[in-house]
Symmetry: C2
Subunit: 217 residues, 2 copies
């Protein structure tokens, strides 16, 4: 499949590299197509990877991963262009972290709203699915790294078909079906985004970002 | 030990009943000492349980459990009286849930603040320890009910001795030492309170409130 990865940071590099490994063609999108980290990504993956502007990548991809920083996601997606996103699935991994008030960050969108909903409202012709935003990126694409892969991940979105497709991608990353919990419509992303402050405090207390939560009952 | 349980709802009844079972003397506090649920609690536990106003209970207890609804906790503690709380541990189980904007509730205190911090600021001579606010009350006092008791709980507070004492109480409830994570000072309660929206969404998706999260790494 042709997939766009918006954002050249660690998350984009990790997701993009896994997608290439799985045989997909990946175009990484950034503000400037001369982005150094983007060039390094392409150099690493040769013929299966390319680099372009946010708009180039969104036009290329059948599915769009939003791996930009949450504070810049809406702007990046606007640069990607409404027409390039129309009818496509946007997998939103970002969290609306606000580092301007010191550490740990607060959330710039919170409580009665979420970044995922803002993206869905801004691009009503796209299908936004919130996923994977509750853990360190290494675990997103390699859940087997801890607890034999037995821990939980969540999806939120308004479109059932889009969620099924995202579930398929998560399974290709190694997630077991029983560990992928569909929380419901896109408003349920408020839950996973608001988990971030607890994630940050657990990380702060344990000095280990390589953890996740498993729902037990 | 003499323990006050403020609040006569399910949480107060569950915590109070477990404390009586463990041999403590419990005074349940409510707005009116003629509270019907409070009377039922006393009737159930005879000589180890009593009922009084918030102030009566706070004066009686060496340790105070705040089991009131989060929206009324500060008022209840003000009625309990600053002098009755001085030098004592307040175990704050409440969440600042706001049901006024529909279901699921939002948080009335959020992001750069928390209910636990507001309580600590309002009663600086007390030691507030946030605990147990991340699960259904049945699990608080009986973690063995699921997954052989192997799941996670959190404590937050400024005073190390107070947290040690609360840890002791949690252990008496059945929590294993390795599953009690001290997140740090009272500001870390922002993390556990902001987890509630995710808790509510998991509950909504699974129709089962008898779950908890286990940190795996």
């Amino acid at each position: 499949m042709k997939i766009a990865v918006l954002g050249t940071g660690n998350v984009g590099d990790t997701i993009g590299s896994k997608l290439v490994e799985l045989g997909h063609s990946v175009m990484m999108g950034s503000r400037t197509s001369s982005n150094e980290k983007g060039k390094a990504f392409v150099a690493k993956h040769s013929d299966k990877a390319s680099l372009g502007s946010f708009a180039d990548a969104a036009a290329f991809g059948e599915i769009i991963f939003n791996c930009t920083a949450g504070s810049g996601s809406l702007e990046a997606l606007k640069l990607a262009g409404e027409n390039n996103l129309k009818g496509k699935i946007i997998i939103d991994i970002a969290n609306p972290l606000d580092f301007s008030k010191g550490m740990p960050p607060t959330l710039s969108i919170v409580n009665g709203n979420s970044l995922a909903e803002e993206i869905q409202k801004t691009f009503p012709a796209a299908n936004v699915v919130k996923a994977l935003n509750t853990m360190w990126c290494g675990l997103m694409v390699n859940p087997a790294m801890i607890n034999g892969g037995d821990h939980s991940t969540f999806i939120s979105g308004n479109d059932a078909d889009a969620k099924e497709k995202v579930k398929g991608i998560l399974k290709s990353f190694g997630w077991a079906d029983k560990n992928i919990l569909d929380l419901g419509d896109i408003t349920t992303a408020r839950g996973t985004e608001m988990y971030l402050p607890l994630w940050l405090r657990i990380y702060g207390a344990t000095n280990n970002g390589g953890f996740n939560i498993k729902i037990v009952s």
